[in-house]
């Protein structure tokens, strides 16, 4: 193992594992190739509107979207809305992760608890989470509490399922090593089960985060005065498609960035993995 493997977080490795398995036997393509399609389409559309082939009213060209983003940024509106949305996702994600991890770990570790709580949680999971919206509004009002709760519910299930499933599939032989060294209860969870499930845990955190971004939009649709979801409804009601696309782009950037932060932040803890992809670089 080189010093680079030791210190360099393997972010892109995990990101592009699927792609790389496919092209493994040919070349390592330049990742910038992925930009060709979207940039090409944007340029073509810009050209079409410029040449008058379309008026670009319902589908605004990139230049108009960029101008809208710039205007929103200049007035501070973009920052205000982004901040509101990010805070909601952060709060909901935090709550959902804590609850999902705790319950998932307990249900994975204790068969009795699992028998008691898992059927109920699975039934609750079967409910489309948006269906809770009216109830949450009745219970918690239309302000932050109901929004954060909805996001937390969305994040909770993938994390709970991921942690529980991963604990249940931890190699019995490894657990026995823990038992042979007289570990049980919290010590066994901390020293054997949690490290063993960490790779699967990161995956469930990532899908939880994705759902968090999905649910924040739903939450902000249900009556918000700020947030990127508000920009979306506002753009629809006032007929400003450029504002809608601008908000969508900000969502894309935020979603991708937070996902990257999550993988980059956890990569140092996963250096030990004996992964297919890591082996090729070793």
């Amino acid at each position: 193992m080189s010093i680079f493997d030791m210190t360099f977080p393997s972010v892109q490795k995990a990101e592009s594992a699927a792609t790389d398995q496919r092209v493994r036997h040919s070349w390592r393509f330049n990742p910038l190739l992925g930009l060709v399609l979207p940039v090409g389409i944007a340029a073509l559309w810009e050209l079409a509107v410029y040449l008058g082939l379309s008026d670009g009213r319902l589908v605004p060209p990139p230049s108009v979207i960029a101008a809208t983003l710039w205007d929103l940024a200049k007035t501070g509106e973009l920052w205000r809305h982004t901040q509101a949305t990010v805070l909601r996702v952060a709060a909901g994600f935090g709550l959902g992760v804590v609850a999902g991890t705790l319950l998932g770990a307990i249900a994975g570790y204790s068969a009795l608890t699992r028998t008691i709580i898992d059927p109920t949680l699975q039934a609750l999971r079967a409910i489309p989470s948006i269906a809770w919206v009216p109830l949450f509004i009745l219970w918690l009002g239309i302000f932050e509490a109901s929004k954060v709760t909805l996001i937390a519910v969305g994040v909770f299930f993938p994390v709970y399922l991921g942690v529980m499933g991963a604990i249940l599939s931890v190699d019995r032989k490894i657990v026995e090593v823990g038992r042979a060294f007289r570990l049980s209860g919290p010590a066994l969870v901390r020293r054997i089960l949690l490290p063993a499930v960490l790779p699967a845990y990161v995956v469930s955190l990532r899908s939880g985060l994705g759902l968090g971004w999905m649910f924040v939009v739903a939450a902000e649709f249900m009556g918000a005065s700020e947030g990127l979801g508000y920009l979306l409804t506002d753009g629809q009601q006032l007929g400003k498609p450029a504002q809608i696309v601008a908000a969508i782009i900000v969502f894309a950037i935020l979603g991708k960035t937070t996902d990257w932060l999550l993988t980059a932040g956890t990569a140092p803890f996963l250096r030990w993995e004996d992964r297919f992809h890591a082996r090729q670089e070793a």
Binding site: M1, K173, V177, A180, F181, R182, P195, L198, W272, D274
Partner: protein, 263 residues
Amino acid sequence: MLSLARVTKTYPNNVRALEEFTLDVAPGEIVAIVGGSGCGKSTLLRAISGLDRPTKGLVHLDDEVITQPHEKIGIIFQEPRLLPWLTVAENVGFGIAHLPAAERKERIARTLDRVGLSDKADVWPRELSGGQAQRVAIARALVPRPEVLLLDEPFSALDAFTRADLQDHLLDLWADSRPTLILVTHDVEEAVVLADRIIVMRPRPGRLFEEIDADLPRPRDRQSAAFDHVKRRVLAALDRSLGRTISVDDRATKSEDGAAMWW
């Protein structure tokens, strides 16, 4: 003194894996347990380790009854079972996390040195060969200084050369602190190389069938006539344990065939 008194293990599906097994092992003694498949060798080891409880009977270490894993009893499995998220040094120190850091570090370094892997202290288990990984597993079991060390076919997954190497190495390590060793093995030669006493078990239900003393001088010469004699006695006992009676005069040849068949 480790003593087993009429230890019986019946699994929930009513399989009697072990029946009325009684054995006393003196401190520092090396006992090998051999026998056909299903004779309860592994069940026996798990009962001694406290990982499983016997259905009936008791396992005593000195004055204590063993019902769960005990700090004076270490175990080495067939596979190294290293924790992949810990470095080699951290794996070796896994069982002594309660000790102060300085002593922990000192013991880990000394034990790694004893198994010849000082240079591997900071690598991940994935980078070790099979033999190296098993040496780390041995180091991990030895670091808490157990009085009894259980080995469940510890070298069976290794190639013949590495196996012989590790057998000598194990004896070397054993000589440091002379723990009691209880070794379950498929390999009759391994049993004769290592053990003071060889227990032959009989399957269905698992029982003690015969005890054979192997009081050969150490280090043992695998080519010597005395060594071969003990090996033949064990093989013959194995044959008899499986109900294959053989006449005395052609025992030598027959039991060689049996050796290929018994497991």
